[in-house]
């Protein structure tokens, strides 16, 4: 069986069903009571009319006579256009009136009228009969006075009451349904609030949920928090393991690389030298990839709980340039810092921004020819634009989307060592700050220009 998927819907349907049952019951009860009341009124009038006629019975010369009091019938005439019939029977013989008016339930006791509903001349009629004893002979005669009236007026009243009751019932149903909808929504609001508090989190935000929870949800929240606690512990163990593993291999790698350099220096044959050089390059490649993978993990982690601190972008750029200047110097590359003297304040995550700048600049140095320039510029307008332009081989027509895809590298990288994560890292940092990365040809006409564009927060 398919379970209802939404508590809200289920709650709403249940409340609506209750409202429907109540509305129906209301309509039936009102209609029943009203028609009973109307019937009762007709019966009373009929009985009164019959009694009035019976009161006019006299005895004359041993014969029962009747002077029909028209007031007795006129009191019935007030109701709509109903037709009125009467019949007076003495000892079973019709004295006056409609001889064919059916009187199925003859009264057995004096002063207690009987009522019955009959079909007469194609209409439903209500018949009230009273029994009188007229002392015209020694034994007296039993006279039955019956008054009947059609029921179309009653039906009209009943119909109008039914319509009104149905209208009121329908209105009640609609109102109750609307209220159920509101009630279902409001009952689920704490649940939605908690859902929001959980979904807004980044994938690595495993702090306990502190959103206020109603009593019924406390066990769920507790279970969730304890689950996240276990997940957090497990994740941090994994992270420790990964970074520990990455660090452990670095010392032996350094030993191998250093020994390789020493050996390289001592060897004379070009083919031997080449073998060692290839080995050293492979070590550099693995070390670089490991570093970038950790950097990328760090950036992803920090992006989820971005901390915005006031910092000076110029100081940050200068630090990064200072750090990479010796690397650039090795290839006689000049880092031209075309930066203003004043500071450029910005709210951001310094470590992430440094990782982004480091990777962009490191890329630029890697792909630049020796004896070239790399220009670092900053422009501030509606947004901040940090541009790093080199005189290297450019992007070879590839666009940003391709190059910022994880582990993808340009088609023209040739033999340059790389992991394909550098621009991905920079792009993720830019986007975490609400900005973007822009790739273009350098102003100088050749070479690549990478711009980190950051909006003011």
């Amino acid at each position: 069986m398919k379970q209802p998927t939404s508590i809200r819907k289920r709650l709403f349907y249940q409340l609506a069903a209750v409202a429907a049952v109540l509305s129906l019951a209301f309509v039936l009860v009102v209609r029943g009571v009203a028609s009973q009341a109307a019937e009762g009124t007709q019966d009373d009038i009929l009985a009164a009319s019959a009694t009035a006629i019976a009161d006019s019975l006299t005895s004359e010369d041993g014969e029962v006579t009747l002077e029909l009091p028209y007031s007795a019938l006129s009191m019935l005439g007030t109701i709509n256009e109903d037709r009125v019939f009467y019949r007076v029977m003495v000892q079973g013989e019709t004295l006056t009136g409609y001889t064919d008016l059916p009187v199925t339930r003859s009264p057995r006791r004096l002063d207690t009228p009987t009522f019955s509903t009959e079909m007469y001349r194609g209409d439903e009629v209500r018949v009230a009969s009273v029994l009188r004893r007229v002392a015209n002979t020694a034994t007296g005669s039993e006279v039955v006075v019956s008054v009947a009236q059609t029921r179309s007026g009653l039906a009209a009243i009943s119909r109008s009451i039914t319509i009104t009751a149905t209208g009121v019932g329908l209105l009640f149903f609609l109102l109750a349904t609307t209220l159920s909808l509101l009630a279902a929504n409001s009952a689920l609001r704490p649940l939605r609030r908690m859902t929001g508090a959980v979904t807004r989190r980044g994938p690595s935000d495993l702090r306990p949920v502190t959103a206020e929870a109603p009593k019924e949800l406390v066990p769920l929240v507790d279970a969730l928090n304890s689950f996240m606690g276990r997940l957090r512990a497990s994740l941090s163990r994994t992270e420790d393991l990964i970074s520990e593993a990455a660090h452990r291999v670095r010392t032996p790698l350094a030993t191998v690389r250093t020994q390789a350099e020493v050996t390289h220096r001592k060897l004379n044959k070009p083919e031997h030298k080449k073998a060692i050089r290839d080995m050293i390059r492979a070590i550099d490649e693995s070390s670089r990839s490991a570093g970038q993978i950790l950097d990328h993990a760090m950036v992803t982690f920090r992006a989820d709980s971005l901390a915005l601190d006031p910092l000076d972008l110029i100081a940050l750029i200068n630090e990064t340039c200072d750090r990479l200047a010796p690397t650039a110097d090795l290839k006689d590359i000049a880092l031209l810092r075309e930066l203003p003297d004043s500071s450029v304040p910005f709210n951001g995550d310094g470590i992430m921004l440094q990782a982004a700048l480091h990777n962009i600049l490191d890329n630029a140095i890697k792909y630049s020819p020796e004896d070239s320039d790399i220009a670092v510029r900053i422009a501030s307008g509606a947004e901040l634009r940090v541009s790093i332009a080199d005189q290297g081989r450019g992007f070879g027509g590839m666009d940003l989307k391709d190059l910022t895809t994880r582990y993808s590298r340009g088609t023209n990288v040739g033999d340059v060592v790389g992991s394909g994560l550098g621009l991905t890292i920079a792009d993720e940092v830019a986007r975490a700050h609400g900005g973007r990365l822009e790739l273009s040809q350098s102003k100088e006409g050749q070479g690549a220009c990478v711009s980190l564009i950051l909006p003011y927060v």
Partner: protein, 221 residues
Amino acid sequence: MRYLLIEDNQKLAGAIVERLQLDGHAVDHADRLDAASACMDVANYDLILLDIMLPDGDGRDFLQRQRRAEKRTPVIVITARSAVSDRISLLDLGADDYITKPFDFAELEARCRAVLRRQGGAADNQKTFEGTVLNLTTGALQFGDSSTNLRNRELRLLEVFFAAPGQVFSKSHLIDRMFSFSDEASENAIEVYVARLRKRLEGSGARIETVRGLGYRMIPA
């Protein structure tokens, strides 16, 4: 230059010492922090290479003690941690620079130079040949009234000749000294740089001579 290497991994330390000696540097090695302190009591170093994880303590504490004692010998930290946050905290503790294992010795040398230049303690790190003075840290080349600044590769090349005037160096040896392993180097490139140096040395007491079939050497002009 005189280095103090503080590193507990014997194999790595041995390789680093040998590698630095190949470039003509003097290196003392300490495998513990107390041994390092003992070395520093008896000798003056141009530069300290410091590992972080040591058997008798954390290299960062050593760094802080040095800085509190106002000992200004430049320190370059050799770290196995590559994360940006680790690196930043090292600089905050007073390291002059850091290099991540495994590292390129050409890069280490470039960083040492940069640190020494920043410290201003570069004046005595120079060599003289026939009245021509080469500052190995700043790359300043002086003779007579003229003074020029060499670029990095020019400096690395001339440094080789200044270390052993008169000795013939093969092109292949010079390539090793001038280029790092990530560069594509060719013998043509050496000719280009030698030509540049010759221009730089015009009017000085030194010149670079081609020894056909063998290489180059520096002789008095």
